[in-house]
Amino acid sequence: MNILEFSFLSAVLTAMTPVVLAALGGLLCQVAGVFNIALEGQLLWGAFTAVVFSHLSGNAWIGVAGAVLATALYAAPLSVSSVTFRADPIVVAVGTNLLALGLTAFLMRQIFGSGGTYTSPGLAGLPTLAELGLDVPVLGPQSPVVPFALVLVAAVSWWLARTRSGLRLRGAGQHLDAAAALGLPVTAYRHGVVLAAGALCGLAGAQLALGNVTLFSEGMSAGRGWVAVVAVMLGGVRPYRVLLACLLFGAAEAVGFRLQGAGLPQQAADAAPYVITLLALVLAGVAARRRTKEAS
C-alpha cells in the first residue's frame, strides 16, 4: 500500500520534471511579457544535445551542461527575431519547433549514423540519488535534477518576489514603456528570459533523455513542451501554481495509466489529464463566482 503510494508519487515526479522545468522557462517569459510557445522544440533540442554531449564526453553531467548551453543558443534566434526585430513570437516558435524536429533527426543521422533511436550501453545517464547514497523514498530513484527542479521552482518564486532583478522583470512585463523610462534595460530582460527559457528547456531535455531514460529518439519530447505551455497558461506568473498545474496534470496521467490496466480505453487515458485539468479550472471558476455572489 505504502509502496504503491510512493511509487505513484515517484512516477508523477519523474514524468513531470521535464515539463516543470520547461514551464518554468515559459513562466519567466510570461513574467516579462513574451508569449513563448517554442518550448516543445527546445525541449527536443535539449534532449538531443544532452545525448550528444554525453556520448562525446562519456559524462552525463557534461551532457547536461552541454544541453543547457546548446539550447540557450538554440533560443537565440527566437530572442533576436522576436525582441530585436519584433517578429511575432508565436510564428517564430512555430518555425523553430519545426526546425528542431528536422535538425535533430538530421544531425542524429550525421552523428550516430542512423535515425530512429540512439542508445548504447556506453551512453552515460544521470545517476539516481539512491546511487549517490541518498536512498530516500520517492526521491531515491530520481536523478538529482528532479529535486533541483523543485528547488528551482522555490528559487524562482523567491527571486521574482523578493529580489531587485525579479521586481524589475515583473515591472518590465507589466508596462514595458514605463520600465524603459525608468532606465531599466528592458530589451536585455526580454532577451534574457527567452535565453533562460532555452537553458531551462535544455535542462528539461537533459533530464528527459539522460534522467527519465538514457537514449534519444526522434520527436521524444512528445508534446511535453505543449503541456508546459498549458501549465503556464494555467499558473500565470506564479511558479507554485505552475508547479501545481504540472503535478495535477501528471497525477491525472498516472491515474490514467493505472486505470488502463483495469480496462479503461487508451483514448480515455489520453484524455484524462486534459479533462481533469479543465474540470479543476471550471470548478475553481465556479467557486470564485459563487463567492462573489454570496457576498452580495
Binding site: G116, T117, T214, L215, M220, A222, G223, F257, Q266
Partner: protein
C-alpha cells in the same frame, strides 16, 4: 556536395528501380525500418536503384503513389494496411506497373499487385509460452504504442500462449498513447513501471522507440522483457528474454525478387511454417543472441514442441484480426 544528377546517380533509362512508400515518416518505427531494410537489400541484390517516399496521411500516400507511378519503377512497394484503399484502384489503372503490398492486401486484388502478409500471432503465442514458463508472479504485461486493431495480433496471442502453460496467468496490456505514441520512451518506461509496480515480472515491449524505455524499466526492478520485430536482446543485456520476430525484410526481399523474375501478383502469407515469423529460441544461434532465454534450455525445448504442434495443426492460434 553530393548527387549532381550524373548518369549513374539514379536509375538508368532501362535500369531497374524500386520505390518504397511508407504510410508515416519512418523515424523510430522499427517495423517501417525493417521494410526499408528489405527493400534496400532487394535493390542491392537485383542491381536496382532505391527510393523512399515517406507519407504522413492518406492524401500524401495517394500523391506519393501517383508520383511513383509516373517514375515507372520496376516495383512500387507499399507497406501496411494504409495502402488498402489506393492499391484497390491504382494498380488496375496501370496494368503495366508492378505493385507489392507488405503486411496486408487490398480487398480487390489486381493481377499486377502482389501481397505478403504475416502470422505475427503465431510468434507472439510462442513468446507467450516462454513468458508463461518464466513468470514467477503469474502477472505479465504488454506495453504497446497505440491501441490499433493490428497490435492485438501480439497482445492476445501472447497472453494465450502464457495461459496455455500457466492457466492462471494474468495479462495486462498498456498503451503508450499521448502525443507521439511511437517515440515516447519516457512514457513507455513509465507504463512499464506501472506494470512492474503491480507485480508483473515479464513485459512484452511493442512500442517502437518506446521499447528501450520498457527495457530500462524492467532492468531497474529485475523483471524481464520481450522485444519485437528484430533481435533487441543486445539493447539491454540480460533484461530481454526473447523477441517476437517478424522477418519483414526477408519476405520483402523474396517477394521483390519473384516479381522481378516475372512471378507477379498473388498473396504470400508468412507464418511459422514459412519461417517468416518466429522467436529467437527457435533459431540455431540462440546461444549467441544475447537473449536470456538461452539460459533456460527447458523453455527452449517446450517452445520448439509448441511450434511443432502449431505446424502439425494440433494447436491453432486464434487471429485477433479475424473476428
Amino acid at each position: 556536395g553530393g548527387g549532381t544528377g550524373g548518369p549513374n546517380a539514379s536509375a538508368a533509362p532501362d535500369g531497374k528501380s524500386i520505390i518504397l512508400i511508407t504510410p508515416n515518416p519512418v523515424g523510430t518505427n522499427s517495423f517501417l525500418q525493417l521494410g526499408v531494410k528489405g527493400a534496400e537489400a532487394a535493390a542491392k541484390e537485383i542491381g536496382a536503384s532505391f527510393k523512399l517516399y515517406e507519407s504522413k496521411d492518406p492524401t500524401s500516400i495517394a500523391q506519393n503513389v501517383d508520383a511513383a507511378v509516373r517514375a515507372k519503377p520496376t516495383v512500387i512497394v507499399g507497406i501496411s494496411f494504409s495502402f488498402d484503399d489506393v492499391f484497390t484502384t491504382v494498380p488496375k489503372q496501370h496494368p503495366q506497373q508492378q505493385f507489392l503490398q507488405v503486411d496486408s492486401c487490398a480487398k480487390e486484388q489486381a493481377p499486377n499487385l502482389a501481397c505478403v502478409s504475416f502470422k505475427e500471432h503465431e510468434a507472439a503465442y510462442l513468446a507467450g509460452v516462454e513468458a508463461g514458463l518464466l513468470t514467477k508472479s503469474g502477472k505479465i504485461g504488454v506495453v504497446a504504442a497505440l491501441d490499433t486493431p493490428f497490435i492485438h495480433r501480439w497482445i492476445e496471442p501472447f497472453f494465450a500462449g502464457a495461459a496455455s502453460v500457466k492457466p492462471d496467468v494474468a495479462g495486462t496490456p498498456l498503451y503508450v498513447g499521448g502525443n507521439n505514441p511511437f517515440s515516447d520512451p519516457a512514457r513507455a518506461k513509465s507504463q512499464a513501471q506501472t506494470l512492474t509496480d503491480r507485480g508483473a515480472d515479464i513485459t512484452l515491449a511493442a512500442a517502437s522507440a518506446g521499447n528501450q524505455g520498457v527495457f530500462e524499466a524492467v532492468a531497474a526492478t529485475g523483471a524481464k522483457a520481450f522485444g519485437v520485430d528484430v533481435n533487441q536482446c543486445g539493447q539491454s543485456a540480460g533484461n530481454v528474454v526473447d523477441n517476437v520476430l517478424k522477418h519483414v525484410d526477408v519476405a520483402e526481399l523474396a517477394a521483390i525478387k519473384e516479381i522481378v523474375s516475372g512471378k507477379t501478383g498473388g498473396v504470400k502469407v508468412y507464418g511459422l511454417a514459412e519461417g517468416g515469423v518466429g522467436v529467437g529460441a527457435l533459431s540455431a544461434d540462440v546461444a549467441s543472441s544475447g537473449c536470456t532465454v538461452a539460459a533456460s534450455p527447458d523453455v527452449i525445448t517446450k517452445v520448439k514442441q509448441v511450434r511443432d504442434d502449431i505446424l502439425a495443426g494440433k494447436v491453432t492460434v486464434a487471429d485477433p484480426l479475424q473476428s
